[in-house]
Symmetry: C2
């Protein structure tokens, strides 16, 4: 089922705002969700002031989900489980796109810090949402890139999840965002490697004073 | 110190043979090491028959190490610890290049399976060789690419290790192999993410019937 309306839960953080901006620019109707409706509205007001004409509105998380064809979880890793708990019934039967990357900083290096009992945030989300089709995506695309609308995006979006049709829907969403390519990365268990890539890129960014992303060579 | 002579321990496997071929083609003097000298010699004979004029010879592992400026560990993951144990004194003071990626297959998916007590093969090698400078490299370059000499290589080589000068020596080695680019990936702890990438690429290869490698965008 093609996606037309997107809700972004935790949409006031940099990754959520960046995705909202890029999705709205690509022509989607976007609802930015936050625990506080006013906070979501403030983010949307700023976005529309900078980029008039975008189809973006703000709401609290629960209301934001109501009419969405797909719900993006753009939460801080430490808030993921609690927010999923609070929204579980509303997410049942939905396509849920998890973009969370849990990282820890140890001795000056970022490392993948998966939630207790799960190999990755994506696996946790799918385990906690057995009635939703959860797809991991956008995990290696930095928020700073998404937010810099004047700058062409680059890099691949790994799309992983246990439902192939859901992956295809998300791949079509990715393809509508200019300059991004979706790479079908198979089952959700691959999210652990994908989230690990983000840790590596964060470390490369720091060491090289760069804004890196990644591309798979040899496909097609 | 520039590398001129390379020993490849476990040089008879596909990764070892592929690296031997590429290094020799790039002008290095290469010794292929094996537990059995005759097996190493057989590999070298076949290599020289296919590509006359390469500076490659075969020897047993211990002898292969003797004059090498850098020693490549191209061992099967399950043989890594035992071989390091056997060669530890000979490797003291040396530059050691670890190319090992420990993978396990579970429910049809490859996943990173680091050795017990270590986050990665690279971290294990450095921990077991405190008197050597260990650098992880070539972990995301498939053996099939290395062995297909007629086909241009592509992709980046992540170079990680706790000694920056050793990383620079290995980066220079990488740069001499045509079409490869070295990416300085900092401390050895990043090897866990890098080895995880290989698990992901193996899964992509199977699902997409492809031979993938990876490139970092946004550097320079």
């Amino acid at each position: 089922m093609p996606i037309e309306r997107l809700a972004i839960i935790g949409g006031t953080g940099p990754q959520g705002r960046g995705l909202a901006l890029r999705f709205a620019t690509a022509g989607y109707a976007v609802v930015v969700g936050s625990r506080e409706r006013a906070k979501a509205q403030g983010v949307v007001d700023a976005m529309q002031a900078a980029h008039p004409g975008l189809d973006v509105r703000g709401d609290d998380n629960a209301a934001a989900v109501a009419d969405a064809d797909a719900v993006v979880l753009a939460l801080a890793p430490e808030g993921l489980a609690a927010t999923i708990d609070a929204l579980r019934e509303r997410l049942a039967g939905r396509l849920v796109i998890d973009v969370v990357v849990p990282l820890a900083l140890r001795d000056g290096l970022a490392e993948h810090a998966p939630p207790a009992g799960a190999g990755s945030a994506g696996e946790l989300a799918q385990a906690m949402l057995p009635q939703s089709r959860v797809v991991g995506a956008f995990k290696t695309i930095p928020a700073s890139h998404l937010l810099a609308l004047e700058r062409p995006l680059e890099g691949d979006v790994f799309v992983c999840g246990d439902d192939a049709a859901a992956r295809a829907d998300v791949a079509a969403l990715v393809a509508r965002v200019r300059n991004l390519r979706a790479v079908d990365a198979g089952p959700m268990r691959n999210a652990r490697a994908i989230e690990g890539i983000t840790a590596l890129l964060v470390n490369l960014n720091r060491a090289h004073r760069a804004h890196t992303s990644i591309r798979v060579l040899g496909l097609d």
